[in-house]
Amino acid sequence: MSESATIKPLFEPTDIFNFDFPTPPQSVESTLSETSRDASNNDSLGMDMPPSTSVGGAKRPERMILDSPTPPDYEEEPDFDEDELALMELERETQSLKESTSTQANPFVVEDNASQKHDFSSTGIFEGLDKEQPVASSSRITLTPPPENDLMPLPIFQSHFNTCTLPSLRAETMQGRMITFKRRNKPKPSNIQLHAKNAKVNAGDLLSVPLHKLLAEVDELKSQQEAIKLQQKYDEERRLAERTGMTVIKRSTVMWVDKYRPKQFTDLLGEDRVHRDVMNWLKEWDKCVFKRVQPGKKRKLENENENFVVDYLGRPRERILLLSGPPGYGKTTLAHVVARHAGYKTLEINASDDRSAATVSTRIKNAIDAGSGLASDGKPTCVIIDEIDGASGGGDASFVRSLLKLIQDVPARKKSNTPARPLRRPIICICNDLYATTLRPLRPFARVIRFKKPQPQILVKRLREICDRETLSADLRVLTTLVDVTSGDVRSCLNTLQFIKSKSSSVTDEAIRSSSVGMKDSGTTLQNVWNTVFIPLAAKQRRKAIGIDDGRYVDRLSFTIQASGEYDKIVQGLFEHYPNVKPLDASLGNLCKVHDWLGYYDRLSSKVSESQEWDLMGYMPYAITAWYHHLAAPANNAKPTEWPKADYEAYQARIANEEISTSLKNLVPPIIQSLFSTSTMLTEFIPLIMRIISPPLKPVNANIVKSGERAVLNRLVDLMILLGLRFWQEKGENGQPMMRLEPPIDVFVHYDGKRADDIAASRFAVRQLVAQAIDAEIAKRKGAGVEGDGTTRTDGFAKAYGLKGNEGLGKKIIDKAELPATDFFGRTKSTSVPLLRAESSDQGSVSPALPPEPPTKKFKAVYKFNEGSSSAVRKSIKMSALM
């Protein structure tokens, strides 16, 4: 009996709590009505409260009846494992819970709720508040144990009775059998605490604070909360307003260019052919990169293979792609789209990156070698080098050079035996100026694809779509104008439209006209500038171009000229071309006008360059612009301006000739140098000297020259020795031996490639004769010179002597032996030039000789080998040598 008595109450709280949890809010009112029913019901939380058992006990059978189907479980399977049993119990209870909640708002529920409420509202204080003030009581509600806390005690304790605070459960079946559920040992300290707390609350039946104060507090709390709520509401509204404002700004910061950038291959603007070319090239890499061959291309590739060596990795012949075209035509976009389309991850290197040789090895190589990294989603990398024409630096260590090494599989170190890692990934380069000097080494190894202007119709259509989407009203005509103005630059078009959109909601002709935004300040080619000056706008163009009637050409031209910036080149080109253009009037009046402007320009430019008066630079384009008025004509279209080169050629020729005259000037004796200044040297001395040294001599053997001619010959030899002029034998272009004058001042008597009439053609035999005579004379003088008779003539003489020493002797050692001799006469410098020339030009005649030592009078035999002569070795001994 005692057992059953203990069991019954133990069932109670579990049930109550089970019902308690899913308390529907609507039941609150009913609970209120019944709150008074039993104040002690809250005690049911405590398990050892006998009074509550009566209530609980009364209910329990009812519940048991309700879930009548379950009890048999208890009977039939008493030996169930405790855990399982507990589970079953749980299930059963939840089931019953559902049923009870769904089917009926039964009195139990009401009652339970009421009992629960009584936990805290038993004081009666909150009776009125309960309904409308859930917030205030919320803290207490949380005190009600969560369902698991209540369920947990349910399972039977099985062991460690001492540790468990609760006795085992006992139940009586319908048949009257008793079942004992042992409690599981699972102490719940929180539970205990809870109970303690509840006990406390219960203990506070009497208020420490007077009721009116509490009420006042509650009022205050209420008003505070009201205020907080209002504040929150206000804040919320403001934040919302701000956020919407933010989003408006954010949306407008997205550039249309980025917003409407083509994402797919089919979206691309411009020539399909170009796109397909790029795609084809990239697809050619498939064999190397993806190890697959395009089936469609196979035959074509084979055909090509006949022409070039197959790459062992199956790479395309040009391992680099060079896209070139003006800005805004979509090169970068194309590269990215195509690369993505072909299954690559892109690595872009543009002008914002450091572009040195190191970049190639670090960034590009790493990206290519690393293959599929984590970031690449397993895709191979395609390197896109944007704006490569801006890559700085020339020489070996430049970016382009090292890129070239990379694509040519040149090993990093020259001596290393390990072959370089071959390039296995495509590289796409993008440039504006295909002919930039930095790109010169790259061009032969690249497949060059040029961009053309996208077709205006397509572009206009696209612009129209964008305008529609941006709710910017624009008609086709206006958009066509825009496309014309920007010369097909999509980026510029979009930027202009976006700019206009920021001001108004419709694009008008005026808007475009007034905004010079659309006019991009791009560099123009020189050819373009020349054409602009010489060729007036065609009527059609004139209509199209914005607001230009051809009478007002100044702005248009000066803009173009300024954009180019290379004034000197422009003027040079114009200058060299203008006599070819049509509208030179018969009186040549416009010619003089043009020349006035040219002179004006030249004065400006020399002022700028000489005294750095850069202010004047601003006027220079106008000096060029003025040509238009005098020379522009439609017919000039037929004769395009050629690249100016006459001036540079003349300049180079002049430099070369100046070199010759300088070398002569260094050879002649000082008094001549002093008598003739540089200019008179050129205008008087050289032309006349050329006549003086070409007397009409007959080509005969030196020994049988007539006395009259002998005198002339002697004089000639004297002069030539004096002036340091020599004849050197060398082979001409046709293999004929010829005697060349050294230094070659005869260029100064050759105009238009022809020799002057009054100079007799100097024949080979004559020159040879003279050369021999000079040799002989020098040798003779040397002998005489040893005796030391040089007074006023010392200079020329000594030079001759020095020259002699270098002239006949081929070997360097002998030269060295000879050099002190020249020092003896104090003339070393001027001989250095002929010395070098002698060595270089003197291949035909080898004349070994004993090294003469001037101070100790030694005789020397001169052997001279004459090419093509039957007497191969000629030995000439001077009389002076024998005496």
């Binding site: 200058f575 030179l584 260094n666 000082p670 140098q673 200019s679 032309p687 006349l688 004089r715 002069l719």
Partner: protein, 356 residues
């Protein structure tokens, strides 16, 4: 044995063939011991240099004839190295600023300071000062001339300047005022004939008058050139008889060709043709001013008298423009275009007064 130009060059003031009064003045100047800075000016080939050398000989004795060439290196402000050959003796040094182009100021300053700050080393020297000769002083840039002016006063003790120029117009006034101006006029035809005869006599042959005349005609008061032409003629035709062809510098012949083609046809095509010829001249290092001058002279020779002043006017105009600008060819061609216009107008509608 040397070129006649050098061989028969008068070595002392006494040997000079003409301008005796000038010679006596130079003699007294060098004897006075108060030798000033001198600016010799006069046309090319008149004998300035000869007089300078003779004066130096008068000052220092025959030692000045012992010339040597020194190679000097100057460093420009932009750290460029300039190699300049300087002709000098123990007593004097010669500079030719045109050799160094726009860097003449550096060279002038360096050399002048160096000379001015060292005393005459040779104790036997007759003068305490050294002499600096500046050839083609009119080619000195304004900067270089400005650099000269103070140095000229400051280092008067150790140094005298002798400037040699064709015209004083390009020498700035401060320098002109610091110098004694000595004009060496071109020799008259008689004087030149005298010199040529002298040379012929020394060379022991007779000079026919016809040859003399043709030499005088081509050299136009330039004795140096006359002697060169003379020697060339003698070399080419040793007997100097019969139909003599006067040796003429090729560029002069070419200039007359240009003049001919200008007058032959006036059209843009011809202009292009002439331009090629002018480039040819310029590439042969003929100075543009000389080209302009020669061409205009040849044209003046050939056109109607009424046109001559105009052509000279325009030649002067375009030469001025050429000096102010930097691209010589522009102005040369402008001149030719102008001449063509004038000539064409003259042929079509007669003389018009076109000076503007």
């Amino acid at each position: 044995m040397s070129l006649w130009v050098d061989k028969y060059r008068p070595r002392s003031l006494d040997e000079l063939h003409y301008h005796p009064e000038l010679s006596s003045r130079l003699r007294s100047l060098s004897a006075s011991g108060d030798f000033p800075h001198i600016l010799f000016y006069g046309p090319s080939g008149a004998g300035k240099k000869t007089r300078i050398m003779a004066t130096l000989r008068e000052l220092y004795g025959p030692g000045v004839e012992k010339l040597r060439i020194d190679q000097r290196v100057f460093v420009t402000p932009s750290n460029r190295k300039l190699d300049v050959n300087v002709v000098q003796s123990n007593y004097h040094i010669e500079l030719t600023p045109s050799d160094v182009g726009m860097y003449d100021r550096v060279v002038i300053q360096d050399i002048l300071k160096e000379i001015a700050q060292t005393q005459q080393v040779d104790l036997n020297a007759k003068q305490r000062f050294k002499v600096v000769i500046i050839n083609e002083a009119d080619a000195l840039t304004r900067d270089a001339q400005a650099a000269l002016r103070r140095t000229m006063e400051k280092y008067m003790n150790n140094m005298r300047l002798i400037l040699c120029a064709n015209s004083t117009s390009k020498i700035i006034a401060p320098i002109r005022s610091r110098c004694l101006l000595v004009r060496v006029a071109a020799p008259t035809d008689d004087e030149m004939t005298k010199v040529l005869q002298h040379v012929a006599k020394k060379e022991r042959f007779a000079l026919p008058t016809s040859a003399t005349k043709s030499i005088l005609a081509t050299s136009q008061g330039n004795l140096r050139k006359a002697l060169l032409v003379f020697e060339a003629m003698k070399m080419q035709k040793p007997d100097l008889t019969g139909d003599l062809e006067v040796a003429k510098p090729d560029w002069e012949t070419y200039c007359s060709k240009i003049a001919d083609s200008i007058l032959q046809e006036q059209s843009a095509q011809k202009l292009l043709d002439v331009r090629g010829k002018i480039y040819e001249l310029l590439s042969h290092c003929i100075p543009p001013t000389v080209v302009l001058k020669t061409i205009s002279e040849r044209i003046v020779d050939k056109v109607d008298d009424a046109l001559k002043p105009q052509i000279i006017h325009w030649a002067a105009y375009y030469e001025l423009r050429m000096r102010m600008g930097s691209k010589k060819i522009f102005h040369l061609e402008a001149f030719i275009a102008k001449v063509m216009t004038i000539y064409k107008q003259f042929n079509m509608i007669g003389y018009t007064d076109d000076y503007e």
